[in-house]
């Protein structure tokens, strides 16, 4: 964990309600770890997954969900933000030989950095992305460069109509281990399908570094904090 000041390189709208924030001056972060940003005017720091990292440039994808994320859309290029970097435990990148990446909504974000890391290690991921609708789609072209990418939308406006499980079941994907991030309903459905993988969880956090117990969940081996022992957990471990 490190506290640092980062400079906004860009803050652009990608699709309906989804934005990309690129920050410069960040220390190295493992894929699957998360960061926290201090947004001027708000008391608590905001936790975000890391969508990409390269040479000090760290990319965050965020969706407007409340007043904090709405305020973030107004952050200007060149502004400095306080950031806590390197939080939690990331993905176990070496676990998979034939990786399957499953993302839903804004939960797609950390899978991009993961996909790049897998490709670097000579592994070709199969990628399944779920969006609400076509207008929400982001980062699809970027993922397509890294592996076979399939899409589901709730309303069928792009890819298969349904959710990520519809795609996985219909395509009989050959994989030995999956990495997933998305809404809890999606993760639960995926866990029922297979527990050979790991899931990255989201939680309303107080601190983000293990001090407040605001994000404790029950696991097969007792209580764990999403921010400290997670956010990535073995799929079979989360109750």
């Amino acid at each position: 964990m490190i506290k640092e000041k980062v400079r906004i390189v860009s803050n652009n709208r990608l699709s309906d309600g989804v934005y990309e924030l690129v920050l410069d001056g960040a220390s190295k972060v493992d894929c699957g770890q998360f960061i926290e940003l201090t947004i001027p005017g708000f008391y608590l720091n905001r936790p975000f997954s890391v969508a990409d990292y390269e040479n000090g440039k760290l990319t965050v994808l965020y969706k407007i969900l409340g007043e904090g994320t709405l305020a973030m859309t107004g952050l200007k290029e060149g502004t400095y933000l306080d950031m806590i970097n390197g939080l939690g435990n990331g993905f176990l990148v070496d676990r998979a030989e034939k990786p399957l990446l499953v993302g839903g909504g804004i939960g797609i974000a950390p899978l991009y950095y993961l996909a790049k890391e897998l490709v670097k290690r000579g592994k070709t991921p199969t990628i399944v992305l779920g969006y609400r609708t076509k207008n929400e789609v982001f980062y699809l072209k970027e993922f397509e460069k890294l592996g076979v990418t399939m899409v589901a939308t709730d309303d069928g406006t792009l890819g298969l109509k349904g959710n990520v499980l519809t795609v996985i079941k219909a395509s009989e994907i050959d994989f030995d281990y999956y990495y997933a991030c998305g809404p809890m309903v999606m993760l639960n459905a995926l866990k029922e399908y297979s527990t050979k993988g790991e899931i990255s969880l989201e939680a309303r956090m107080g601190c983000g570094f293990g001090a407040c117990m605001g994000c404790s969940i029950m696991t097969t081996s007792g209580t764990k904090r999403v921010c400290k022992e997670g956010p990535v957990f073995d799929a079979g471990e989360v109750i």
Partner: protein, 305 residues
């Protein structure tokens, strides 16, 4: 050169400075040791401990507020046995000074047993009695909002406890000095205040409370003036030490809280938005003392009275 002395005496123990991370915002301390040398802290008030292990409340347990947050953790802890045999042992490896244990409970019997469990723990120099937690059902705050109940509980605990008892007071009362005087008469060695103010936030989409159990405890800079007022009133009325807390976020706040009457201070919510909050407050304190021409911090305790 301007000479500054930050030492304070609390219940017979000399603290290098009056800064103590508040219970529930610092875990059992040792995790912070990987980020900075926590031995700079005056002391540590450990995570609230109950007789048996508690998972706490369902999520969400946190709601953001203007100038603070509401929490309803519900005293998640591994139970007193594990706290003593595991957590405090880990803390002792990285923190060489005596600490404060913090105890919560549902019944008089549970409080007495849990507090007494710390009787022979050598790195604990006092036990803080949480009779003001708004987040546990059928206990917690119920003990701290009625002066007779609070007084009875403290008397029973003092019969069995060998460590000094600090009673943590609730601000959710009509007259905080009435309870403070009652626990002083019952044998309390010190009081600490304020615990959180009971608050709520609602989700505008669902119309339901954000916190799973509805209400929670509000803390942060928003409660700071309320805390100052209560510390001022209580310290004027009592002759035992008062530990001040509630929204302290910077070195100036420490000086102001001690001016109001605090012998030492606890820093809570600030730790949750900045893991280095206590370190930064301690590092800068000598400069702020110099600015206000304060040589000895102990001299300003209650100077507003």
């Amino acid at each position: 050169m301007f000479v500054t002395d930050m030492k304070v005496n609390l219940l017979g123990t000399t603290l290098d400075n009056p800064i103590i991370p508040a219970s529930g915002t610092f875990g059992f301390g040792y995790e912070f040791a990987s980020w900075y040398d926590i031995n700079i802290l005056g002391s540590i008030s450990c995570k609230g401990t109950t007789l048996e292990a508690r998972y706490g409340n369902p999520l969400p347990r946190i709601a953001e507020c203007p100038a603070g947050l509401i929490n309803a953790i519900g005293l998640q802890n591994p139970g007193v046995e594990k706290v003593i045999s595991e957590e405090l042992v880990k803390l002792k490896e990285v923190y060489k000074k005596p600490v404060i244990a913090n105890v919560g409970g549902h019944s008089t019997d549970e409080y007495v047993k849990t507090v007494s469990a710390f009787n022979d723990v050598d790195n604990v120099f006092a036990v803080e009695l949480n009779i003001s937690c708004p987040n546990v059902k059928g206990g917690g705050m119920a003990f701290g909002t009625d002066y007779k109940t609070a007084s009875e509980l403290v008397k029973k605990i003092k019969e069995k406890a060998t460590k000094p008892i600090i009673v943590k007071l609730s601000p959710n009362v009509t007259d905080v000095t009435e309870i403070a005087l009652a626990v002083q008469d019952a044998g309390a060695d010190a009081v600490s205040l304020i615990n959180t103010l009971v608050g709520m936030r609602f989700n505008l989409r669902t119309g339901k409370p954000i916190i799973s159990v509805g209400k929670g405890g509000y803390s942060g800079p928003g409660v700071y003036p309320v805390a100052l007022r209560m510390v001022y009133e209580v310290s004027k009325a009592l002759n035992i030490p008062v530990i001040g807390m509630g929204g302290i976020s910077k070195s100036e706040d420490v000086i102001e809280m001690m001016t109001a009457g605090a012998t030492a201070v606890m820093v809570g919510s600030a730790n949750l938005i900045n893991p280095f909050a206590c370190k930064e407050i301690i590092d800068r304190l000598p400069y702020v003392m110099e600015k206000y021409r304060i040589n000895k911090l102990e001299d300003i305790i209650g100077r507003a009275h």
